[in-house]
Symmetry: C2
Subunit: 114 residues, 2 copies
DNA sequence: TCCGTAGTTCAGAAATTCGGAACTGTTGAT
DNA sequence: ATCAACAGTTCCGAATTTCTGAACTACGGA
C-alpha cells in the first residue's frame, strides 16, 4: 500500500476543501468525525444514511478528505484511525469549517464555541 | 431561450453552493460579482486570470452559479446582468459566503463588516 | 430587413466518478 | 510457519459529468 499523503497546512487549497465537502455523503462522514472525540475508523461509518456505502467508495471518500487536508489518517493495526484537522484548518481558513457544518445543519458541540 | 431558473431561498442546498465555488474560476467570477456595485455582464468577466474563458464555458459557469442560488441573472436588452444573492444567502447560511471568499483571499470591501 | 453583439444550446471528446472484484497488509489461531 | 479473517486499498470498466467549438437564438440599431 502506498504511503498516505497529507498536505502541509500551508498547501491546503480552499477549492479542495469545498470540493471535498460538496458531496453530502463526504460531508456527513466529516461531520461525524468532527463530532467524535476519538478518531473513527472507515467501516464504522459505512452506514450513515439509509444506504450502505460500498467500501471502495468509502475508501475513496477518506482519500479525498485526507488529500484535501480535512483529516489525518493513521494506520493502527488492521484499521485506520481518522481525525479532523479542525483546529489547524480554522487557523488557516477562519470560520470556514464551522460555517460549512452549520450550513449542513451538522455542527457538533465541540465546534459551537469559537 | 429557456427561462432562467432561480431556486427559492429555502430550496438552496449547501452542497450546491460548495460545489459551485469549488471551481476556482467560478469562485473568481463570483468574487468579482460580489465586489461589483452593480451587476456585471457575462462577457465582462471573460478574462479573469491569464486565460480567456470560452463563452460556452462562461455561460455554463453562470448557469451553475445561478442554479445553486448564488446569483440572480436578468436579461437587460442584449446582455445579462448578474448579481449576487449575498444578503439572502447570509440569512440562510450565516457566515458561509464570507468565510469562503476569505479563504480564497478575495473578500470584497462590502462584505468585510457583518 | 439585415447586421452585429451577447449569450445559450448542442454534440462529441476528454476527464471524472462509481463500485465490484481482486489484492495488500495486519492480527490471531492452529 | 501456515492459514484464515478482517480492514482497507487498488484496479479497471461502465456510467456520468465536464469542457468547448460550432451552430443557434434573442435583441437592438441602421
Amino acid at each position: 500500500m502506498r504511503p498516505l499523503f497529507h498536505p502541509a497546512l500551508e498547501d491546503i487549497k480552499p477549492e479542495a476543501i469545498l470540493y471535498a465537502l460538496s458531496d453530502p455523503e463526504r460531508a456527513a462522514i466529516y461531520a461525524q468525525l468532527a463530532g467524535a472525540a476519538c478518531g473513527n475508523t472507515c467501516s464504522a461509518l459505512a452506514e450513515l444514511g439509509d444506504r450502505v456505502i460500498p467500501k471502495s467508495s468509502l475508501s475513496n471518500h477518506f482519500k479525498v478528505l485526507r488529500e484535501s487536508g480535512l483529516i489525518v489518517s493513521e494506520r493502527q493495526g488492521v484499521e485506520m484511525r481518522n481525525q479532523t484537522r479542525c483546529a489547524e484548518l480554522d487557523e488557516r481558513f477562519p470560520g470556514l469549517i464551522k460555517a460549512i457544518l452549520t450550513a449542513y445543519g451538522q455542527i457538533p458541540e465541540q465546534l459551537k464555541t469559537g
